[in-house]
Subunit: 254 residues, 2 copies
Amino acid sequence: MIQVYFLPSLVSADQLAGRTVVVIDVLRATTTIAAALDSGAREVLPLEHVAETRQQAEKLGPHALTGGERRGMKIEGFDLGNSPTEYTRERVAGKSICFTTTNGTRAMQVCRQAQTILLGAFVNFDSLSRRLPDDGNWDVVCAGTDGQITGEDVLLAGALVADFQAKAEQGKASPPVLNDQATLAADLWLGRKLQSLKHADLTQLLKNTSGGRNLIEIGQESDIAWAAQLNHLSVTPQLDCQTWKIIAARSSSP
Amino acid sequence: MIQVYFLPSLVSADQLAGRTVVVIDVLRATTTIAAALDSGAREVLPLEHVAETRQQAEKLGPHALTGGERRGMKIEGFDLGNSPTEYTRERVAGKSICFTTTNGTRAMQVCRQAQTILLGAFVNFDSLSRRLPDDGNWDVVCAGTDGQITGEDVLLAGALVADFQAKAEQGKASPPVLNDQATLAADLWLGRKLQSLKHADLTQLLKNTSGGRNLIEIGQESDIAWAAQLNHLSVTPQLDCQTWKIIAARSSSP
């Protein structure tokens, strides 16, 4: 069964126990973490509070950097904010990023009993979807913003479900059973005829979401176009439940 | 602003204070309450617990009936279940219905500080939508089922928003500002091209929701087709926040 949850509060940790789960925070945590790993960051440690993020970086020493945001803005004294464009090879290659964002971290927390936790964004859509179990047993947790459902996360969830359904129709995967949120998200994506998606269309679509409007408001509009670069990266970030570190998933099958 | 909430848990009572709010529980509470009032029931009292529903009916005396459901089934010793087809003129005309359903009642509770509470269903779509403020300041609370978002409620929310947007495009209403849930719901409805809706299509669509599947499972499939009769009734149920009674809204403007 494919179960989509539009917010972390709509699912409990034990419902996700043992499952393969995709965490989505398109604008911007999961997009930025994908960028960091693609630029050669060794690992990303998702942390809830600012203080523990600083402490963790101090503990790790000189190869560690602090990154993340509060209300979309870079945190005072941190090395990096939450814009994917900051996470260049020059800045982050070989580094451990101690990273704190409010919504993305909360979404990861609810997955703590899952078997496999993957991080999804439009920039790594294909590499992510290739890692989803063919038997149609996986879930999606959308981060949302401050407890509200956000369009950008639901759209990506819908794209993943619709893509899987198309695979099943071609006989390449088992026809999935969906919960209503999965059906709604897929119908939404297909209704937009976004199979034949152009970068400009997706950018425009993301601008009209609450996440998009927030970024425009804080002067970080260019990150929307960045996040809309479908399949720009080939990395799939995976959160290890034991070590609580995000690393690039190995290139073999999941 | 039009704000849609896919579940009562996604909004707090004070966020709805002073607003006009539509409560939706298509399968079946709001459909059935519309049927009861259309059949001449004097009022419907929405109650949370079975015991208080019985007590209230006893207190009101011979002109009162008990109605409602648990897990979709009629409650033992109650006069009526939760099927709209039971609420005929012969049974309910002139009666006070003490009515308990789990999800619908919870959705009404969160509206307790609202200025106007209207109950929505496909069967009373037009009469309801005519009562929504032209200035685009109204909200929708979907009941869902046991804390899960259900497709049938989201679809109707989307139909209401899309209908209002069409009115605004014709200059008959103010162009509304939408929260993301309102945008998603409207896009979903429009993506289905359901403006040109036929009864068979809507019935099929409702069958493929979790509410629809539940009804099929308990042998009450015929209620789905009943609930899909777009504009079959001209009544708009309105919940009075002072008396906590649902009556037919007067025929004048809201």
